[in-house]
């Protein structure tokens, strides 16, 4: 008997005023003692809902609508809350996605350990647990807001292991953390598991971490498990076309040739009745039977797959790929720079208590942005990337140094002249969900900058808006003009945000982590779009990212920032393939690698 047995488990969301959504649909799997299982899937596929169902933590309107979860011989699905209490934490514990919110903000970290011990009449040494995750025991006396994101997440891991559980469910434990911090946490987790031998269900959308950590990986799509096999085998021979697409979206930025795939389209609407294979509309190798047959999860290769083809994928019919295709990058850049940043310094004054501390966010940074060229700013959070973007867009003024747009000193612009400058420099924001006014249509969002900056009339603005939508690949445009943001998928929204940035015909585009909030399977698609726009329209792009793979794919030039200083810069290919500075190497080494599992 396996440690965790999930059988035919279904979870349905029943909101009061909307259609019911079958978020998890008859899912079954086992986790053995000491096994490390990855659950990979994109946002909305039901993986976190499944995790919460296993922990019996679902909140209304979600509820288990069928099937069972048996943990260590106890039927979790039907036990009363009081019967579950002894099981919770003592044998099955969890770490939530890294955020401020996983720890109670008004009591100390130590008190949250004591809570767990007291609830189970256990004795425990919180200080020793903290040392286990390489934290100072002094942290126990502090409050969650006094810790950094990485420290909080390590404290949460120590807390999860406090009662020596047999099973730990990790739900996106490193999402939102820096690559370097993520690396230390993952390494620690691996060591602890070797030492304590607990089983893990590791839920993540991040293929790299899942593949690196897990023995066995389950891939979830549209509420179902579509593939389940050992990680190593999945890497060499994925059984499901979706898995193949996901694997294709990942590449080692240091490889000689880099190409990433994407899976066009979006997952089906789970509030509707599903017929046939749920992936067929995005599937590059779909056959006629896919429309009528809903394939079962059947044994194939060393695991199982839910596919009409039964794991035998034809070579042809790869998902669509994006690989940078551009002239030799080492030659000196053509064209006059549009924006020149020279020796720029930005200080922030922070008053805390008695003292005023000056934080130098950007320290003597210089670079040029040239037409048709993409410059990537790479670094961890807090390295000054976003501050530089704000300086370039004129939102902030440099403490010293200059930002020049042609012969215009951006730092000295005020009022109307600054507004006029903004026409030339547009921004693509990180979060496409927050960047659009939820009460305004796409047409309105696009017409605004057209009318403000270009002075177009209403009719002309609508025509131009439609043109822009076509340019970012949303066609037929008429279909999108009257849509509200919530009716679009994340990828479509980001396209609208890009179209809006293009509206005033800018010469500079600042893209601040434009793909980090998007699903892995469509990231390359947006990168390709940005790449094409920059080249075709001769736009100078400042691409801000912490992700070296995307920098490699999109950028001509890479600038590596650390604590506001440039530590390394040069052509993308050279900086990433032959990094010289130790910090660049650290960033590269921190990226989870698929090859490590092999």
């Amino acid at each position: 008997m396996a440690l965790l047995e999930v059988r035919e488990l279904s979870v349905t969301y029943r909101p009061r005023d909307a259609a019911h959504v079958h978020a998890v649909d008859r899912v079954g799997f086992d986790v053995d003692e000491g096994e490390f299982v990855g659950l990979l899937g994109e946002s909305g596929c039901g993986k976190s809902t499944l995790g919460n169902a296993v922990l019996r933590l679902l909140d209304k309107p979600a509820a288990i609508s069928g099937g069972s979860v048996v943990f260590d011989g106890v039927d979790v699905t039907h036990a009363s809350e009081e019967d579950l209490r002894p099981l919770r934490w003592a044998r099955i514990s969890t770490v939530f996605q890294s955020s401020m919110n996983a720890l109670n903000p008004v009591i100390t970290v130590g008190a949250q350990f004591d809570d767990a011990f007291r609830a189970h009449d256990a004795q425990g040494d919180a200080a020793a647990l903290m040392e286990m995750v390489a934290l100072d025991p002094d942290v126990l006396r502090r409050y969650p807001h006094e810790l950094s994101g990485g420290m909080r997440q390590r404290a949460a891991l120590a807390l999860a292991l406090a009662l020596r559980p047999k099973f730990v469910l990790l739900d996106e434990p490193t999402t939102g953390l820096d690559v370097v911090v993520q690396r230390t946490i993952l390494d620690r987790l691996r060591e602890l598991r070797a030492e304590l031998g607990f089983a893990v269900l590791f839920i993540s959308h991040d293929l790299g971490t899942v593949m690196e950590m897990a023995d066995r990986v389950m891939v979830m799509y549209a509420g179902e498990i579509v593939e389940d096999q050992p990680a190593a085998a999945m890497l060499t021979r994925p059984l499901h076309p979706y898995t193949r697409g996901l694997l294709g979206s990942y590449a080692d930025p240091r490889a000689a040739e880099v190409s990433v795939d994407y899976v066009p389209g979006r997952p089906p609407d789970l509030s509707r009745e599903q017929t046939g294979c749920r992936f067929r509309e995005r599937c590059p190798v779909a056959v006629a039977a896919c429309a009528t047959t809903h394939p079962p999860l059947a044994p194939a290769g060393p695991g199982a797959v839910r596919c009409v083809l039964g794991g035998d994928l034809p070579e042809a019919g790869q998902a669509r790929a994006f690989s940078p295709d551009r002239p030799e990058l080492t030659t000196t850049a053509p064209g006059e720079p549009v924006v020149s940043v020279r020796e720029v310094v930005k200080d922030y004054r922070v008053r805390r208590g008695w003292r005023t501390t000056v934080t130098r966010a950007v320290d003597r940074v210089s670079f040029d942005l040239r037409p048709g060229r993409v410059t990537a700013l790479v670094g961890q959070s807090g390295s000054g990337k976003t501050t530089l973007a704000r300086l370039v867009t004129g939102i902030e003024r440099p403490t010293s140094g200059t930002v020049a747009f042609g012969d215009l000193d951006v730092g000295g612009l005020r009022g109307r002249r600054l507004t006029r400058y903004r026409r030339h420099v547009q921004i693509v924001f990180q979060d496409p969900f927050a960047a659009l006014n939820p009460t305004r249509t796409v047409g309105y969002a696009l017409a605004r900058p057209l009318r403000n900056h270009l002075g177009l009339g209403e009719r002309a603005a609508v025509e131009k808006a439609a043109e822009l939508l076509e340019a970012v690949g949303l066609h037929p445009a008429e279909q999108y003009l009257d849509k509200l943001p919530h009716q679009l998928s994340g990828g479509q929204r980001q396209r609208v945000v890009i179209a809006r940035a293009l509206a005033p015909e800018p010469s500079v585009l600042v893209a601040d982590e434009p793909i980090s909030m998007l699903d892995v399977s469509i990231r390359a698609e947006i990168l390709q779009l940005l790449d094409r726009l920059a080249r075709d329209r001769g736009i100078a792009m400042l691409y801000i990212t912490h992700d070296l793979l995307s920098a490699r794919l999109l950028a001509d030039e890479v600038i590596v920032l650390r604590d506001g200083r440039v530590v390394e810069s040069g052509p993308a290919l050279r900086v990433i393939r032959h990094a010289e500075h130790a910090y660049t190497k650290l960033l590269l080494d921190s990226i989870p690698t698929l090859t490590r599992t092999l």
């Binding site: 919460n52 922990l55 933590l57 909140d59 209304k60 809350e81 579950l84 209490r85 002894p86 099981l87 919770r88 934490w89 003592a90 514990s93 969890t94 939530f96 996605q97 955020s99 919110n101 996983a102 720890l103 109670n104 903000p105 008004v106 009591i107 809570d115 767990a116 609830a119 189970h120 409050y143 807001h145 006094e146 805390r352 208590g353 008695w354």
Partner: protein, 331 residues
Amino acid sequence: MRYFLRRAGFFAATLWAAVTLNFLIPRLQPGDPAEAIVARLSGRSQAIDPAQVAAVRTMLGAPDGTLLTQYVNYLGAVLRGEFGVSYTYFPYPVTHMIGQALWWTVILVGVTHVLSFAVGTLLGAWAAHRRNTRADSVITLGSTFVGTLPFFWLALMLIYLFAITLNWFPARGGYGPGSNPGWSWIFFSDAFQHSVLPALALLIVGPIGWIIGMRNNMVQTLGEDYARLARAKGLPQRRIALTYGARIAILPNVTGFAMALGGILGGTVLVESIFNYPGLGRMMLDSVTNRDYPLMQALFLFITIGVLLANFLADMLYGVLDPRVRREVAA
């Protein structure tokens, strides 16, 4: 310490602004108090004799000189705690009048405020703990329903039911004609009887805001990751509800409460008018209708100081309760 000083400096600046406004606003109002008094004394239709007006002015000690000298004199008087003589309750000084009304209000409104807060917060927490059950629906819907009823209507219904129909409690006033204010048992029991209906009216309406605020805050905190994690930790229900729900959800309510305490000094004009209760609220209303400037100004100042002090208290209290701002407070 710096935080404290900064808050204190802010407090002083606001206080000065309030005192100044308090000086200016009544002078910007149309009408002359002396003329008003003379007119009232002599019957409205007759012409007013300037000599009479001058005599009344002298008697009341009405202000002379430029606005600036008036202002300087005013500031000095405020500092010495001299607010002058009431025009309507001549020759009692304003402070005497306020001192009398104050206790009625502080006891009635103070007690009902504290009770409302306690009852409201507890009910709200209970509703959140039992969210989406019948108990929650009854509490939430019930308080929303009562909250939509006009207060004066509720008060009149209480008077109709308990004072007129059942004749259990007196309908108006602070004490009956048979007792005189003093330290006697008869007076206290009489005053208590008189306070029952206004207190009841306040207690029906008072907790509603706290119930709804607390319930909504707590439902939200109980949906946060830390509360889910507490469930995953297998903590007892009580501990989750108290430490991971109520303890966090109560914070905004505490601030609101501390600020509401400031409003006590202003009394509740409506309730005191309806029940003809001898508190600050009614006195304020009277002073405005009678253009009793000294009383009016002193009352407004009193209320302002009360609200400012309460705000100050709320800031300090929040620092103690919420560690997220404590660091700043302690620094």
